[in-house]
């Protein structure tokens, strides 16, 4: 009995080491992507340290977001309804010290996107005094619509559940928040074909890896609440982030465990230290309450994240 336990423990340690190695390899491969950039490519990155908590447990975490993109075609016309075509690849996710508390997946994807802006620029005439200008011809901004085809790879932090994806996306985003526009959500719909690479969860449910299809619907709002409060609170914003995922074609035993759909909802308050960074390096402070999960994360959880935005460049 004792020897069996020892064997299981050893196997588990090796399993953890292999998983850690895979995770490191994934990050390494994606991080070294910066070396491939040139003048025609744009590389973007951000890292955000944070504290994650769930059911009274705390852990340190680091959110990362890396992207490489290029514009294949951009209409340089001066008129409204400007169109463009671009390609991109990127990765994002959150790595936590305690992986069990991390509900955010790690993603890497690549795709091609075509888009149109519902924007007509106003024609203005500059005045003599700073800040003065006359609008000679009104314009409008009703957002941007885009359509994408893409493929990717996604996993949870433990690398227990990993998928290859291919699909199409339709997105609409509005960059303004004045008046009624703050009520208009930015929305995104994606439909993916999901080919399971490896699923501990499906194995634990006694089914073989089964491919499926997945619908993703995102909506987000930003409310500039500080504008309605006293001046010191001007940099205060409220944010709502809703995401819904539906899997189609999963084994029946999987659906029975209620894992065929997922909802993630987050509400945040952020305060920007616009004039002077807090302690010289903190650009913003935020509090986020989130509930649900983002696939392939399998556990629903309610988390409170108190975070700082630092070193964004």
């Amino acid at each position: 009995m004792g020897s069996t336990c020892l064997h299981e423990m050893t196997e588990k340690r090796w399993s953890v080491r292999i998983q850690s190695l895979r995770l490191m390899l994934l990050l390494l491969v994606l991080s070294t992507g910066t070396a491939w950039g040139n003048d025609s490519l744009d590389f973007k990155h951000s890292f955000r340290p944070a504290l994650l908590t769930s059911h009274g447990d705390w852990t340190g975490a680091l959110s990362y977001d890396l992207g490489l993109s290029t514009v294949l075609y951009s209409q340089a016309e001066k008129d409204s309804f400007r169109k463009s075509l671009s390609a991109r690849m990127g990765t994002k996710g959150t790595v936590a010290v305690d992986a069990d508390l991390n509900t955010e997946p790690l993603n890497a994807d690549a795709g091609i996107t075509t888009s149109i802006n519902f924007y007509k620029p106003p024609i203005i005439e500059l005045g003599a005094k700073p800040g003065q200008f006359l609008t000679k011809e009104e314009g409008f901004n009703y957002g941007r619509l885009s359509f994408s085809l893409l493929g990717g790879y996604e996993t949870d932090q433990r690398l227990d559940n990993r998928n290859i994806t291919a699909g199409a996306e339709l997105g609409y985003a509005l960059t303004e928040t004045q008046a009624f526009k703050s009520l208009v959500p930015s929305v995104f719909l994606g439909y993916d074909f999901v080919f399971v690479d490896h699923s501990e969860q499906q194995k634990s449910l006694g089914v073989d890896d089964g491919d499926s299809r997945r619908l993703r619907v995102f909506a987000s709002w930003k409310f500039p609440v500080g504008q309605w409060l006293p001046p010191p609170l001007e940099p205060l914003d409220a944010h709502v982030d809703l995401r819904y995922y539906l899997n189609d074609g999963l084994p029946s035993v999987y659906r029975a465990t209620d894992k065929d759909d997922a909802i993630y909802a987050a509400a945040s308050l952020s305060y920007s230290f616009s004039q002077k960074p807090l302690w010289g390096f903190v650009d913003a402070l935020f509090v986020r309450v989130a509930t649900g999960r983002i696939p392939p994360e399998t556990k629903d959880a309610t988390t409170v994240m108190v975070g700082l935005a630092v070193w964004e460049r």
């Binding site: 514009v71 951009s74 340089a76 800040g131 941007r144 960059t175 982030d241 460049r313």
Partner: protein, 575 residues
């Protein structure tokens, strides 16, 4: 506070005219670069300054030089002698499309051409070639502000600079050019308050030299007088004795070019810089502060011992007799050749710095940007710092310059010239472009009272309504990105907002897919807005590049709006 006591902030178009251009061209032809390149460089620079009306297109300049040099039969023969696999040969024989080359690539190609030609010329090296190109590029910068910015970027935050102006004239013409040079130099005081110490050029061949000097010293913040007698005037003329009397009475320091090199009107006019001529001047004005630029020439300090009869020795003799005599080590590049030259130089310099008669009289200087023919400003500082003891370097770069300039630090009383300089800063306080140093704030309290403060500096040219790109950027942001309260705070305040304060900013609070959409929408809408309102792309910019740059910029919430203005200014232009 470390101070470079010998620097120049002018660009070529601010001091040279068609009638004085030969003085610059003489200097170019003395550069240690292959004749084939040098002659074409001098010719094209001459053409540019004569015909371009102050606007210099570097791309056209370097492309033309390359085309002319590579078209010569000498160069074609050289190419044929190169190995068939030589990259330069392959590139040029392969029909390099120079019209597709951006300026940096052209400069690199020209450097390689100079290197190839220089291999057959023992006097020329690749570094000489690249240094010469760097020098020309600095000289051809569009204005004094850009030359100053390039210098200040290489210095530490508190470092100061003595900015020496030049008046190259032989008949007193082009007064407006000199006045513009003085005004543009004075503007740098406000750009870097407490760090730029301008000296007004006096050339007695200009009839109004005295009144121009007086106006600069009394009303434009200038603190000293620069003499360059090798441009063709005598230092012992009655006109200049009047200048000396004026300066002695007001503790105004002088600095005279004192080496056989540099700019000169004619060969014989080089003798006008002989320090021996100052014996008679100092006998009459024994309290005068005079710094002999270049210490008479580095070549005397690279000898095993300083010769008994040379300009450097004369200066040392004057130091022994007169307490206001100084010398600077600007453009002392000879020791950098290493070997005995370097060893002798630092042995001599160290010995002088141990001698109480000279220790407090030697000043650090680099001769920026004329010294760029040899090395960068940072390298100059580093070279002397590394070869002198920390105490000696501090002596020549901090202690002695402060005494020479009359800075009110270390318990010293403010000199009259320096007080005028401080009063200029205070009178122009609303136009300051950066925060003044602590010594300025303390000195102003002494002059104007303990409650005296300076206003918070505006962003100046970094965020200016006079800059149409900035103005249109503001208008774009006001139309949907700034709250009403932010708009009421005005244009200046908007420049100090960050991108994360704008309406579109929602990074980290929504799916990445949505954030990416917003970035692209913002970048393209801004691009469309500027183009629709009459803007166009700067040369070398394209729609694709502009959108990419803007997306990248807009993704960084910690960026200030004025930084977006600066980047946009590099992308767009308005006629």
């Amino acid at each position: 506070m470390r101070i470079n006591c010998h620097a120049h902030l002018f660009n070529a178009t601010s001091i040279f005219t068609t009638s004085t251009l030969d003085i610059l061209l003489k200097r170019i032809t003395e550069m240690k670069i292959p004749d084939l390149v040098k002659n074409e460089l001098a010719k094209q620079v001459g053409n540019l300054l004569t015909k371009a009306g102050g606007y210099v297109d570097e791309e056209i300049l370097f492309r033309t030089i390359i085309e002319k040099v590579t078209a010569t039969s000498d160069f074609k023969k050289l190419l044929e002698r190169l190995s068939p696999s030589d990259s330069l040969r392959l590139e040029l024989f392969g029909g390099a499309k120079l019209e597709d080359y951006a300026v940096e690539k052209l400069v690199s190609l020209l450097g390689r051409i100079g290197d190839a030609v220089g291999k057959e010329n023992q006097d020329a090296t690749k570094s000489d070639m690249m240094d010469a190109i760097s020098f020309i590029r600095l000289a051809l910068l569009p204005g004094i502000r850009q030359v100053t910015d390039t210098l200040m970027e290489q210095l530490e935050h508190d470092d100061g600079v003595v900015a020496l102006t030049m008046d190259i004239t032989h008949d007193g013409s082009n007064r407006q050019l000199l006045e513009k040079q003085l005004a543009d130099t004075a503007a740098q005081i406000l750009a870097y308050p407490g760090r730029i110490f301008p000296f007004v050029a006096v050339n007695s061949r200009r009839p109004e030299h005295f009144s121009l000097m007086e106006a600069a010293l009394n009303g434009k913040g200038f603190i000293g007088v620069k003499l360059y007698p090798s441009l063709g005037f005598a230092v012992d003329s009655p006109e200049l004795f009047k200048v000396y009397a004026y300066c002695e009475e007001r503790e105004i320091p002088l600095l005279m070019h004192c080496s056989e090199g540099g700019f000169y009107y004619a060969d014989e006019s080089r003798k006008n810089s002989d320090p021996l001529l100052w014996q008679a001047i100092l006998e009459k004005h024994d309290k005068l502060k005079i710094c002999f630029g270049h210490f008479g020439g580095a070549k005397y300090l690279t000898s095993p011992t300083i010769p008994d009869t040379c300009w450097s020795r004369t200066i040392l003799t004057l130091m022994e007799k007169y307490e206001g005599v100084y010398a600077d080590i600007a453009f002392h590049s000879e020791p950098m050749e290493g070997g005995e030259s370097e060893k002798n130089y630092f042995t001599n310099l160290s010995q002088l710095l141990q001698d109480s008669r000279y220790r407090s009289r030697i000043l650090f200087g680099t001769d920026y940007f004329l010294s760029r023919q040899q090395l960068t400003e940072t390298s100059s500082w580093e070279y002397f710092r590394a070869h002198l003891s920390p105490e000696d370097f501090r002596q020549i770069a901090e202690i002695n310059p402060a005494a020479y300039l009359g800075l009110p630090i270390d318990g010293r009383k403010c000199s009259l010239a320096m007080e005028n300089h401080l009063r200029y800063i205070y009178q122009q306080r609303d136009a300051l472009l950066s925060e003044a140093g602590d010594w300025v704030k303390s000195a102003l309290k002494v002059i104007y009272g303990p409650d005296t403060t300076l206003p918070k500096p505006t962003l100046g040219p970094k965020w200016s309504w006079n800059n149409k790109v900035h103005a249109y950027l503001y208008a774009f942001l006001a139309e949907g990105q700034l709250s009403d309260r932010r708009k009421e705070e005005g244009f200046d305040a908007a420049g100090m907002l960050k991108l994360r304060d704008l309406a579109y900013w929602n990074k980290g609070f929504e799916a990445k897919e949505l954030w990416t959409l917003k970035l692209k929408a913002m970048a393209e809408n801004l691009d469309t807005f500027i183009l629709t309102n009459g803007g166009s792309y700067e040369k070398n910019q394209s729609s694709k590049g502009a959108i990419g740059s803007l997306e990248n910029l807009l993704d960084d919430g910690s960026r200030y709006i004025h930084e977006v203005g600066e980047v946009s200014d590099g992308i767009y232009m308005f006629a």
